[in-house]
Amino acid sequence: MKIKVLGPGCKNCETLHKSTLAAVEELGMSDAYVEYVKDISEISKYIMATPGLVVDEVVVHEGKPLPTVAKIKEILKKTTG
């Protein structure tokens, strides 16, 4: 599973990146690869409001308020299951 965190490097994007890594670790997903995309033109292909979360090329979150670790876990479980 390929996960992309989209954000130019603001505080909120950092937070989302950290919570995503935490969620992946707590779920023990060994096949997951988390990429942190900071390039604006790459980001704007997916979302308008940062930060964003993309799982296997599907946008699952955009903008504020940020999802919590528990929420991200829920999203990841739904996508896999």
């Binding site: 704007s44 599907v58 699952v60 903008g63 308020p65 940020l66």
Partner: protein, 386 residues
């Protein structure tokens, strides 16, 4: 800001401080004016107005899902919907131009297109909650209302006109990637609604002004304003501790603190500079009032046009347009030109023209700037005659 401009700014300040004669009464008076104006803001506008407004802005960005608003900007959204949402959603989506420009780029290149994107970028800075509240508080309720209505109406007109002029060269758009709706656990809508009403209640009751006549409904509220404020505050606190989980409370405070850090230092510097240059109403700053009155006094077409052009090119940090206008009005600026400056000022500046140009190209940017200047001038002339 380009490195060269930074250097020139520093050089200018250096040369001024090097040669200025601090002993002359006009200079020392102007310096004092700067601090008197800052004191006025700290005493009159900070605790009862700015602080509650910052908490409201924080709560909005912690509870309102941006994604739920943004979906109305999609390429498949109905035109009428995307224009109306674009012109008012700055109130929730954006507090400073740093969030507005990325959204502008997104709406233009992937979403509803040029018209709604332009409408959004024009109205955004004028109708965010902090700008409206502080404008109404410092420059008067009438000016606050005129600013909000002017921004919304003219945003739609400019957007439609731009979309019409460039109707033939809609550029190739990116396709939207697939997205999955994730159910959001928004808590109870009713509770959230009461929460916001109570927050706004704190702001409104705490700033309730003493009415001219006693015995009216407004005077009655004024007599009990602190009780009403306390009740609203109690409701806010109760909901915050019973209806919200810890995570949400922390996000709320984080966002509020984030906005405060972003806005307050620049605002207070702006207040000092405005006081130094222009002075409080009835007082002189370093720029003599007759110059201001000569250029932008009254409600002539030239005064309105001049205010629009200056506003369009000058950069105002978030909210600093308000103390600057307070100084200008105190020095004799007419209310029409004041509105023109308020409309053209925060939505355009030389730096953000460059960003806009990189997104939509030179031709469209020039047309957009002309639109803003012309529309703001018209708005000023209309408002000034009433």
């Amino acid at each position: 800001m380009k490195e060269r401009n930074k250097f020139l700014t520093i050089l200018l300040i250096f040369v001024y401080v090097y040669f200025v004669d601090f002993d002359t009464p006009s200079v020392s008076g102007a310096i004092l004016e700067g601090f008197f104006m800052l004191q006025e803001y700290v005493r009159e506008h900070t605790l009862t107005c700015l602080v509650p407004a910052l908490f409201i802005a924080g709560a909005m960005s912690a509870t309102i899902s941006q994604a739920s608003v943004i979906k109305y900007f999609g390429a498949e959204a109905k035109k009428i919907v995307s224009y109306s949402v674009a012109s008012v959603s700055g109130a929730i989506l954006a507090v400073c131009s740093c969030t507005i420009l990325p959204l502008f780029a997104g709406i233009y290149s992937r979403g509803a297109g040029l018209g709604p994107a332009v409408a959004f970028v024009y109205s955004g800075p004028a109708i965010n909650i902090l700008a409206i509240v502080l404008t109404a508080r410092v420059l008067g309720f009438e000016m606050g209302l005129a600013r909000a209505i002017g921004a919304i109406v003219f945003a739609i007109i400019i957007g439609l006109s731009m979309a019409f002029i460039f109707r033939d060269d809609e550029k190739e758009r990116h396709d939207s990637p697939p997205r999955r709706e994730m159910a959001t656990e928004d808590g109870h809508p009713v509770q959230t609604f009461i929460f916001f009403i109570a927050l706004i209640g704190v702001l409104i009751f705490a700033t309730w002004a003493k009415p001219a006549s006693s015995g009216s409904f407004f005077a009655l509220i004024f007599d009990y304003k602190w009780s009403f404020t306390a009740i609203s505050l109690a409701v806010v606190i109760i909901i915050a501790f019973t209806g919200m989980d810890k995570e949400k409370r922390v996000t709320w405070l984080d966002e509020t603190w984030g906005f405060s850090k972003q806005i307050l230092p620049l605002l207070f510097i702006g207040v000092i500079v405005a006081g130094f240059l222009l002075g409080r109403p009835e007082h002189e700053g370093i720029i003599p009032s007759q110059y201001v009155e000569g250029l932008v006094g009254g409600n002539s077409l030239f005064a309105n046009f001049f205010a629009s052009v200056v506003g369009a090119f000058m950069y105002f940090a978030t909210l600093t347009e308000i103390p600057i206008l307070q100084g200008l009005i105190g020095s004799g600026m007419g209310k029409g030109p004041a509105l023109a400056l308020l409309l053209a000022g925060p939505s355009l500046s030389l730096p953000n023209m460059l960003v806009i140009r990189s997104v939509i190209g030179t031709r469209k940017t020039v047309v957009y700037v002309i639109h803003v200047v012309v529309m703001s001038t018209i708005a000023g002339v209309i408002y000034g005659t009433f």
